[in-house]
């Protein structure tokens, strides 16, 4: 691909719309005659609803209806009809299915009224009586109940390689420790909301906060038995999601239920508190056992994870794949088990499993480096792998060594003294730590449509989402570059279920999947342009084949004789005033199967820890990233910065607190659930390391959504150890752990 628009920093094409408020989010659409729904959530974690008294709410003028399990319409209740694209094995949660309470804050009633204020007030008047049963929400105390799920959501743990038990027993140096990762909630800026609009002919238009409009469309279609073509789901802008929008959440179901019953438009938005009433990153405990030779070779790795899930679905994520991805070791044994608790099913959250697993592995690796007395970077280099040990396949590209080199140089790692507590400034102990990480670069099947109108405007579309990552911009860049058009002439459309098929916006695969489809559809359009150009009088293209023609700067020309050119506009205008239209679907190339593809990161951080007070400040951070082609260094950098900031939160602040007596998450607002604020963020440096990869996908880009976060928290934990000599194995590192 020509380096034209891609590879250069471009401003967001939707930036102006966002800062002026012109960009509308799901809850913001003004719909005439709109009803407002407010959800009532359960007070207990487990038991049954004895009774629901809605009379006081219904007595208020303007309250239209209160829906509960008692008066909900009789729809299909088959599990398969509620399985969305991201559903783990099991029986999906069905709102208002019956009187059973499966988790605290479960939706138990929906109050629908003519105004939001009224609905909110009426919701307080709904009286629910419960019969509580004993619940279990504590992972620690339920560990003995851990089980191996019948079916895994993500690929099951790989079979053992070599003999890890014997190798570990015989190893000269050993690390064997437990690491605890708490539950996290996604908490995107925009809270989940849906507006369901019922039409006279029974069709529905829906605005939803979601990472895949076609996922919501199919879910509503099967759950309510509406033909798919009668449901249109729109989601033009998403105010962050981080995985919370991978599954349709209950407000969507409830809005549609109410709209169909009342034959009106209904909006249901969740409050910040209610953002804690569905999926979360699961609390996970891990045991790492590493064995190494005196020379610093890893001889054994055992990595066992036990994570929470709900009583109704077996959620799991890629927690234990990382030793095989990152290190060369012959004797490896991993396991991933679950404990089912009375909580909502966990839900993919930015780098699911990667955040959790890399934390434990990379801290254990640091511990081993200290046992051996080898510099932690040196130790990683000694055990570097060019093949994916899990799959036994070579990497399609891997510039992690270059990440180490450039990151270490920028940071000044070579000046580091190995000894903990060796640097100090006043009361501040200074520590330097590092970690590395990886994230799989996948491509999914995706389709795109391109319409080139005679006025020279190109519109490309796909039903994907832009969850703040810059999809609008990057896809416009790819189309503009492929077609040789100015960026301003290109419009990209997304977030509409009627557009060509898209995978969910997740897994860092949107650029690779949708981007490849956009490239392909533009190439198809080029063929059509060539056909049109051939029709022209004295056309220089009469005998040209598609491979002979290039497109750049608004012109098409013979690659071998660039002077032989016409403007692209002329070509499109040959089509008798009609636009040129192309559609294409792009599947991963078969050759990809011979390789494993991952993006990589190396993070170096400096922390200052107050020797008396235990406060930790991350003063410097350098992340070097190898992720194939960087389509837009500006939006790309933002992704890595966002991941870095979140990594600071994961290391030092974030955890959802459960009161196990109540079975209830208690810090359910942003005053009590801490994420970093500006004052927590100091120098943050991002390096994109050059990495050429012609195998990973036609675009050569590996995706940047998740790689930015994975190595941050362990690097901070390791830096805190270097500063203080204290090894913290339970996140977050709040100051009390360092007193």
């Amino acid at each position: 691909m020509k380096e034209n628009y891609t590879g250069k920093p471009a401003n967001r094409v939707d930036g102006r719309a966002k800062v002026t408020g012109e960009a509308k989010y799901a809850a913001e659409f003004n719909v005439p005659n709109l009803l407002h729904g407010v959800v009532v959530n359960s007070a207990i974690a487990k038991g049954t609803i004895k009774s629901i008294d809605t009379s006081a709410a219904l007595q208020l003028a303007g309250v239209v209806q209160v829906f509960t399990h008692e008066n909900r319409p009789g729809y299909t209740w088959l599990d398969s009809h509620y399985m969305d694209e991201d559903a783990p094995p099991g029986s999906p949660f069905r709102p208002f299915y019956n009187n059973q309470i499966l988790f605290s804050m479960q939706p138990v009633a929906l109050v629908v009224a003519e105004s939001f204020e009224l609905a909110r007030y009426a919701a307080l008047l709904v009286k629910v009586e419960y019969e509580a049963q004993p619940h279990e929400t504590d992972l620690e105390s339920n560990l003995p109940r851990a089980y191996t799920p019948k079916k895994y959501k993500s690929p099951p743990p790989t079979d053992p390689r070599g003999d890890a038990d014997t190798a570990f027993a015989q190893a000269t140096f050993k690390v064997e420790e437990a690491y605890a990762h708490p539950a996290h909630h996604h908490n995107p800026m925009e809270m989940h909301a849906s507006i369901a609009i019922w039409h006279e002919d029974g069709k529905m238009t829906i605005y939803d906060k979601i990472q895949g409009v076609q996922n919501s469309q199919k879910y509503i279609s099967t759950a309510f038995g509406i033909p798919q073509e009668d449901v249109q789901v729109l989601s033009p802008f998403v105010g962050g999601a981080f995985g919370s929008g991978l599954r349709p959440q209950y407000q969507l179901f409830l809005a549609v239920l109410a709209a169909r019953e009342l034959k009106r438009a209904v909006k249901v938005g969740l409050t910040r508190q209610q953002m804690f009433s569905f999926g979360h990153r699961p609390a996970t405990v891990q045991r790492l056992a590493l064995g190494a030779s005196a020379e610093g070779e890893l001889e054994a790795v055992k990595h066992d994870a036990i994570a929470e899930t709900s009583r109704f679905e077996d959620y799991n994520e890629d927690v234990v794949i990382w030793p095989g991805v990152l290190y060369d070791c012959e004797n490896v044994k991993v396991s991933h088990q679950l404990v089912d608790l009375d909580v909502f099913t966990p839900l993919d959250m930015r780098a699911p499993g990667g955040v959790t697993g890399t934390f434990a592995l990379e801290v254990a690796i640091d511990e081993m480096a200290y046992q051996l007395g080898i510099d932690p970077l040196e130790f990683r280099l000694k055990n570097y792998t060019n093949t994916d040990q899990n799959k036994g396949k070579p990497y399609s590209s891997k510039e992690l060594k270059e990440c180490y080199r450039q990151g270490a140089e920028r940071f000044g790692w070579s000046k580091r003294k190995m000894e903990p507590r060796s640097m100090k400034e006043g009361h501040q102990l200074i520590g330097w730590g590092m970690a590395n990480g990886a994230w799989e670069a996948k491509q999914q099947e995706a389709a795109a449509k391109a319409v080139f109108s005679p006025d020279g405007k190109l519109t490309v579309s796909c039903a994907t989402a832009d969850i703040g990552t810059g999809t609008y911009t990057v896809m416009s860049q790819i189309a503009a570059e492929t077609m040789g058009l100015p960026l301003e002439e290109v419009t990209f459309k997304l977030g509409d279920s009627t557009l060509p098929k898209s995978p969910l916006e997740g897994g860092s695969w949107t650029v690779s999947s949708v981007g490849s489809a956009v490239k392909l559809v533009c190439e198809k359009l080029q063929e059509q342009l060539l056909e049109q150009a051939r029709k022209m009088e004295n056309s220089p293209f009469k005998d040209a084949n598609p491979e002979d023609v290039s497109f750049a700067e608004g012109r098409m020309f013979l690659t071998q004789a660039p002077a032989q050119s016409i403007s692209i506009l002329e070509a499109v205008q040959q089509n008798e005033g009609q636009p040129l239209v192309a559609e294409a679907s792009q599947k991963p190339d078969k050759n990809q199967k011979n390789y494993s593809s991952y993006s990589h990161s190396a993070t170096f951080v400096e922390v200052m820890v107050d020797e008396d007070l235990g406060t930790v400040k991350v003063t410097r951070m350098v992340s070097a990233i190898a992720a194939g082609r960087i389509i837009n260094p500006k939006t790309g950098r933002s992704q890595i910065l966002g991941g870095s900031v979140w990594g600071i939160g994961a290391a030092l602040q974030e955890h959802t607190v459960m009161d196990h007596r109540l079975g209830r998450f208690m810090n359910h607002d942003l005053d009590k659930y801490h994420v970093p604020v500006s004052a927590d963020i100091h120098e943050t440096d991002v390096i994109f390391v050059e990495e050429k990869d012609e195998i990973v996908n036609p675009i050569g880009a590996k995706g940047l959504g998740e790689i930015g976060i994975v190595s941050i928290a362990p690097a901070i934990v390791n830096a805190v150890f270097h500063a203080t000599g204290k090894r913290i194995r339970e996140l977050p590192i709040t100051l009390d752990k360092l007193l």
């Binding site: 009161d659 007596r661 208690m666 927590d680 007193l739």
Partner: protein, 330 residues
């Protein structure tokens, strides 16, 4: 949120009159009250807006002190030249709280009356004696990392979350109030209450009383002071432990010391007898340690907050050191 009626009071007399009706409450900046109304923790049926009353001036008193109108904004107070010059401790404490946006709305009177941040107080589906007297205290045997270690009772272990109040306690301010029975001046130490068996009462202000002003005495400790706030992130978080320290030094020798702790009790915590240990003593780490020990006499940890005892101890020492040397605040 429940429906309520709303009026604006033109003057103090009307305000006092209107607030005397059942279920009525004053609203000033609204930054605390509205949040609590939205989640149904506070349920006033009538709001009396007092922001139209001319109570927002900051002026010098005849005694050489400063009078902060109850409706002066937190931001305007913190940046007021006389506050910055003469009571920098107060200025620092205010600026250590909340965010710029909130401080622009929040009033000095409202700040003193903000409610606890105990997790259970905020969730109407859990028992809480402060929110619903007699329902029980969820925090004592629940999640209590943020809560009190001093002056607690079996009925409540909540803390008062204000930073400003901690500085005002150290500075020995006076709270001026007006009610149906006329004016009162309440010494700051008597303004907030301990939970005892009435945890639903945060202060000794009567329901019909309005705060009109906060008066600072002449002595401002502008030479040696510090406000040290320890929290879980660098900004926009309430204190786990905070220390307002003010010293009057004669060379190396301490003429007078004031120490108030935040984040550890139902009110800003002062121990005058412990402060007195420093009187006439040299400002040394050793002496600071002794005071810190004395300050935490009788402190009691619950499951998650025991660390606060040690943290407060170290924070007192650090704060006194900072106040002595007036070095950059960590």
């Amino acid at each position: 949120m429940r429906p309520f009626t709303f009026t604006q009071a033109p003057d103090i007399a009307t305000a006092v009159q209107e607030v005397s009706s059942d279920g009525a409450k004053f609203i000033a900046g609204g930054t605390n009250l509205l949040d609590l109304m939205k989640i149904d923790v506070m349920r006033p049926s009538h709001l009396v807006d007092i922001t139209q009353i001319a109570l927002d001036t900051i002026e010098e008193t005849e005694q050489g002190g400063l009078r902060l109108g109850a409706l002066a904004k937190n931001a305007d107070t913190a940046y007021h030249p006389l506050v910055e010059a003469r009571y920098p401790l107060l200025s620092h404490a205010i600026l250590a709280g909340a965010t710029a946006q909130l401080r622009n709305m929040a009033t000095d009177g409202g700040n003193l009356l903000q409610r606890t941040r105990c997790y259970y107080f905020y969730d109407t589906h859990t028992p809480c004696n402060k929110r619903e007297p007699g329902s029980g205290c969820s925090a004592i045997n629940g999640y209590n990392r943020d809560l009190a270690i001093l002056g607690t009772s079996e009925h409540c272990i909540a803390t008062h979350p204000s930073d400003m109040a901690v500085a005002l306690a150290a500075l020995e301010a006076t709270v001026h109030v007006t009610g149906k029975n006329g004016d009162r001046a309440i010494p700051f130490a008597d303004f907030h209450r301990l939970p005892g068996d009435t945890p639903h009462l945060d202060t000794n202000l009567q329901p019909d009383e309005i705060i009109t002003a906060i008066e600072l005495p002449a002595k401002g400790f502008a030479q040696h002071y510090t406000y040290l706030k320890l929290r879980d992130r660098a900004s926009y978080a309430f204190a786990l432990v905070s220390v307002a320290a003010a010293l009057d030094l004669d060379g190396d020798s301490i003429k007078e010391a004031r120490i108030a702790l935040g984040g550890v009790a139902h009110k800003p915590w002062r121990v005058p007898e412990a402060e007195a240990l420093l009187q006439g003593q040299p400002a040394t780490r050793e002496n600071f340690r002794k005071v810190a020990e004395a300050y935490l006499q009788g402190a009691k940890g619950y499951k998650d907050n025991t660390f606060k005892i040690e943290l407060a101890n170290r924070a007192i020492v650090r704060a006194l050191e900072q106040a002595t040397k007036m070095e950059a605040i960590a």
